[in-house]
């Protein structure tokens, strides 16, 4: 067929429905405690809540005052206290203490805890043990999914990663399953589910159980394919410095719940402001996925256009001026405001990045990804640590080194760890223990034959050569999965080739053309093959746990793909998937546990 334009681009469903559902349920729960009440809200629920309800709505349902949960004594004078919290033992203990203190003081109040997205038995046990079970009523607000943007859904569970991958606690598995179930019941069923990872498998099972016992609509229109992926399938990507605009904003200013707080240095005033970053922001939506090197040019072009638009006023007569003011001026002013904001942000990025020798850092990362000049990289990391610059960057580099090299050589591990502890504090030996548990930073196991050989050869030659030999040996000795994966999936383009970042040719553009995110490459490959066939070697290297299942009554291939990152994803991955979506004429909706920027410390 010569013309494919007849195919309508798939419409993304209206995810704001999810907000409405959540809001309605919240209102219902608030009504369960009739009369005036004070509402205590978990700090990290405030922004999500802000997205779906506002003070007027809460007031309408007799919420008197709002407080943030701070785990300190309270001063409320209300006779009814309502707590809107995540199911955390610590918070429930705090509430129990409040209730008991009231009892001692002979004060009568009603208490209600609304757990979101669900309650845990462990929390209820605390109420029981503290002797306040019954004094406190509990409820669940099943607020599973927050739409952050047209194509981003989030569970807003920052603890998902730590709980699941570090502690091995599966408490959020059913939550993720329920989130999928909710999507399915609101928007139609899924035609196909692919996945990889242990958690992905459990989530799938949990969701399938829900579906089986739940009442199913038959012949619901299918709306999407789903791809579930565990964060630990690809640790490399979140360890790389981000260079697309949105990623950089996140790395430097931290985007939380779709909002960023820009300090006085950006706003060039004495206040910092909170800005929503999404597709509603016309300037932002054009640069968010761009490589940073293109952003300046774009912004300055925009600024010129804006100037021209303003200049039109010259020589206008009154009538024209009137029309201009009513039709265009508001839009222009809005654009002006946004433009100066993003220019300010870019400037501040440039300042910070040049200060810390960003180029050198990127160069090291790229060498590590390529497996090139590892000795030099180690020296760089060492100096980075010695100079006590950014603790988190040092750790990122160490982890990237470990993962790409399949662990550090014993002597390197020990010396780098010792220097790290000297520079940033000895308590971080706990951090190192955690990272080892996660498999993010490991010491290669001794006893491998080559190590012995290496030390023998090492005695014969001078120090400098030992380093080089060591590199050679380690690349031979280790079943370096990342290297092999990278080769197999062509993640790292051949060096030396020019990469025009203005006209990206593949997803590698999100890392300056140096690396295609492993997670996104997997997704691309599996969708292309409609399964894992032909990727056996790859999945073996990723420790298996892959699956692909088709709905029995499968209809046409769906062009909306829901990618669920279990344990969070980065903005670079989102940009890469948007790029993929454009190429493949499909939409990728990203459902995530939380935007990571992996928190590595204790």
């Amino acid at each position: 067929m010569a013309h494919t334009e007849w195919r309508d681009a798939p419409e993304l469903p209206d995810f704001s429905l999810l907000k409405r559902l959540a809001r309605d349920q919240l209102i219902f729960l608030l009504e369960q405690l009739p009369g005036k009440k004070d509402l205590f809200i978990d700090a990290d629920l405030m922004s999500p809540l802000d997205r779906i309800a506002n003070v007027t709505i809460l007031k309408q349902h007799e919420v008197d005052k709002l407080y943030k949960v701070e785990l300190k004594p309270i001063v409320s004078s209300s006779d009814q206290l309502c707590f809107l919290i995540r199911p955390r033992i610590q918070t429930v203990k705090w509430i129990s203490d409040l209730v008991n203190a009231d009892k001692v003081a002979g004060r009568f109040r009603r208490y209600k805890i609304i757990f979101t997205p669900q309650k845990f038995y462990a929390c209820e046990t605390v109420l029981e043990e503290q002797g306040v079970y019954g004094d406190v009523t509990t409820d669940e607000w099943n607020f599973y999914i927050l739409p952050l943007d047209d194509d981003i859904l989030s569970l807003e569970l920052p603890e998902f990663f730590r709980d699941n991958f570090l502690e091995g606690d599966q408490r959020w598995v059913t939550t993720a399953g329920s989130a999928l179930h909710l999507l399915q019941s609101v928007y139609g069923s899924f035609s196909k589910v692919y996945g990889i990872g242990r958690c992905a498998k459990m989530v799938y099972e949990s969701w399938r159980e829900l579906m089986e016992e739940g009442e199913q609509r038959t012949r619901q229109p299918e709306f999407a394919k789903v791809f579930l992926v565990d964060r630990d399938v690809d640790f490399v990507t979140p360890l790389c410095s981000q260079v697309v605009y949105e990623g950089l904003v996140d790395d430097l200013f931290r985007i939380k719940c779709g909002t960023v707080e820009l300090g006085p240095d950006v706003t060039s005033s004495d206040k910092s402001i909170k800005v929503m970053l999404n597709s509603q922001d016309k300037v932002f939506s054009e640069i968010r996925n761009e490589h940073f090197s293109n952003v300046f040019g774009f912004l300055s072009q925009k600024a010129k256009n804006l100037q021209t638009a303003y200049d039109k006023r010259r020589g206008m007569d009154i009538q024209q001026m009137k029309a201009f003011v009513s039709d265009e001026l508001k839009g222009l002013k809005q654009e002006h405001r946004l433009l100066s904001l993003h220019i300010g942000a870019s400037e501040s990025m440039m300042k910070k990045k040049t200060k810390q020798d960003f180029q050198e850092l990127l160069k090291t990362e790229h060498s590590l990804l390529e497996g090139f000049e590892i000795r030099e990289c180690i020296t760089y990391i060492e100096e980075h640590i010695n100079r006590q610059v950014s603790m988190i960057d040092s750790l990122r580099l160490l982890c990237l080194l470990s993962i790409t090299e399949n662990g550090l050589l014993s002597k390197d591990y020990r010396s780098l760890k010792a220097q790290y502890l000297q520079s940033y504090g000895i308590k971080h030996l706990l951090t190192f223990a955690n990272l080892r548990q996660l498999g993010l930073l490991e010491e290669q196991q001794a006893g491998e034959t080559l190590t012995v050989m290496e030390s023998k050869v090492g005695k014969l030659v001078n120090d400098k050569t030992v380093g080089k030999l060591t590199d050679a040996f380690s690349s031979l000795a280790k079943k370096s999965n990342f290297r092999a994966l990278s080769k197999r999936l062509a993640l790292v383009p051949k060096s030396g080739e020019e990469y025009d970042l203005r006209v990206p040719r593949d997803m590698a553009y999100v890392f300056s053309g140096a690396y295609i995110p492993l997670s996104c490459k997997l997704i691309e490959q599996v969708l292309e093959r409609d399964g894992w066939t032909g990727l056996e070697e790859v999945t073996r290297m990723l420790n298996g746990q892959e699956f692909a299942v088709t709905a029995r009554n499968k209809t046409d291939a769906q062009r909306i793909v829901l990618v669920m990152f279990l344990g969070g994803c980065t903005f670079s991955e989102i940009s890469a998937l948007r790029f993929l979506g454009k190429e493949r004429d499909a939409y990728y909706v990203k459902q995530i546990e939380y935007m990571v920027n992996i928190k590595l410390s204790i």
């Binding site: 429905l17 309650k119 462990a122 606690d169 579906m211 089986e212 006590q388 502890l421 299942v549 029995r552």
Partner: protein, 449 residues
């Protein structure tokens, strides 16, 4: 779209409005407010209502007609339990689900005791009433635990573990957890969240995970605020079975804090000139080793190795590499603009008694650090001259405006064109300008261009 009105946004995000504040010290809240007494607010949990969720979601005063199909209407459509549209993917851990249909007896609360482990776990998953009393024998308890693990529900796994914790002796529970890794990790996490560190330590010890146990115990120091108590606690950690490496680090940690306490006590009331000139911004307690070394190079430079606060003592005690030492000392002395000290850091005498400058870190880095501490051009120039790599040297000279070096380099390269270009950047009639002028007029030089 549910966009908040702007004034709402402001209300919500800032605390300048009265009613909403994060500050519980605010007196405004002591004002008593009239409150209605709620009469009928207590929810009775009706455990066997399947529709509990359904009712909640579809309830609304607003027209939810458009979305009510999401949950409520689906209730009337077909149950598809038998006709599963998605297959299972993993057969190994899932236990047989026969009898997963609720038995009649389960509808009566009185008979909750007769439920099988499968049925019980299922009810727990759904948040329905259940009873664990019946699970008395060890075998039954373990069946229950294994079933919870088989359905991947962390919430239920923990619930069963809490029951086991209450109804089994520690020894038996620990023993059984040894072979059950998933359950074990849930248990450890639960105990940590409950703040039962002692029990975790005991558990890890029983499991033979001595290094984990040692770390767990060591972690407690983070909760001790008082520094002498913290020091004593760290001392008590020294005998724990850490890995060899970590044992050294923990020993360092103890020694460091011990020294810091001594240094802090004397420096707090120190009267030396340097403390007046540069008052301390913070205490040295609990700072990393390198920060402590920097502090010592700043306030205690030149003290003899015998004193705890001297740089040489700290360097020796904590086995700090030469490179690291030079970097830190350089930073501190440059900050104080003690260029003499900076010089002596790099001076080495050869056997003929000539001094020569050597550095374990590249001189381009040295220059970088000096520049960041706003060293004068003369100082910078000397160090730029020491950079080995000619390209780095030239770029350093250009960056830090060491004119002489730039000019000499171009002269040595016989690069007339570059000299002309550089001349234009200089002030007319400055000594450098004149120097270039002289060079360009010098007929002896054979320029390459």
């Amino acid at each position: 779209m549910t966009r908040a009105k702007p004034e709402d946004d402001e209300y919500w995000n800032s605390s300048k409005f009265k009613a909403f504040t994060f500050d519980d010290e605010d007196d405004e809240f002591s004002q008593l407010k009239e409150s209605k007494r709620a009469v009928n607010s207590i929810l009775v949990d009706d455990d066997d209502e399947d529709e509990e969720d359904v009712e909640r979601v579809s309830w609304s005063g607003e027209p939810v007609g458009s979305i009510s199909w999401s949950v409520k209407e689906t209730a009337s459509s077909i149950r598809s339990g038998s006709e599963q549209s998605f297959p299972k993917i993993d057969t190994t851990p899932s236990l047989s689900k026969q009898g997963s249909g609720y038995s009649l007896s389960s509808l009566f609360k009185g008979n909750l005791h007769d439920l099988s482990p499968e049925e019980t776990v299922r009810r727990m998953q759904k948040g329905r009433a259940f009873s664990l009393e019946k699970f008395c024998s060890l075998q039954d308890k373990l069946l229950l635990l294994d079933e919870a693990v088989a359905v991947y529900d962390g919430n239920v796994i923990t619930a069963v573990l809490i029951f086991l914790k209450k109804s089994l002796s520690k020894e038996i529970l620990f023993r059984e957890l040894m072979a059950r890794d998933v359950a074990l990790r849930h248990y450890v996490h639960y105990l940590k969240e409950m703040g039962e560190q002692k029990l975790v330590v005991e558990l890890l010890k029983a499991l033979g995970r001595t290094e984990d146990m040692a770390l767990m115990h060591y972690k407690e120091h983070l909760n001790i605020k008082d520094e002498s108590r913290r020091r004593d606690f760290l001392k008590s950690c020294l005998s724990l079975p850490f890995s060899q490496d970590d044992a050294t680090h923990v020993q360092d940690h103890y020694t460091l804090l011990e020294r810091q306490i001594i240094i802090e006590a004397s420096d707090k009331k120190a009267v030396a000139e340097i403390f007046k000139k540069f008052p301390r911004k913070a205490s040295i307690l609990n700072m990393p080793i390198i920060t402590t070394l920097y502090y010592s190079c700043f306030y205690h430079y030149g003290e003899s190795e015998g004193t705890f606060s001297s740089p040489s003592n700290i360097r020796k005690t904590f086995r700090i590499s030469e490179k690291q030492y030079i970097l830190t000392a350089l930073g501190a002395r440059a900050k104080l603009k003690s260029w003499f000290d900076v010089d002596s850091l790099f001076n080495t005498k050869n056997w003929l008694g000539y001094t020569k400058k050597r550095s374990p870190i590249g001189f381009h880095r040295v220059v970088d650090i000096l520049h960041k501490n706003s060293a004068p051009v003369q100082v910078l120039q000397e160090y730029v001259n020491l950079i080995d790599d000619p390209d780095l040297k030239l770029s350093g000279a250009l960056k830090y405006k060491c004119h002489d070096i730039v000019i000499n380099t171009y002269r040595d390269l016989k690069d007339r064109q570059q000299l002309i270009v550089y001349r234009e950047k200089l002030e007319r009639d400055s000594p450098e300008y004149r120097k270039i002028q002289e060079l360009l007029n010098n007929v002896q030089i054979r320029w390459k261009n």
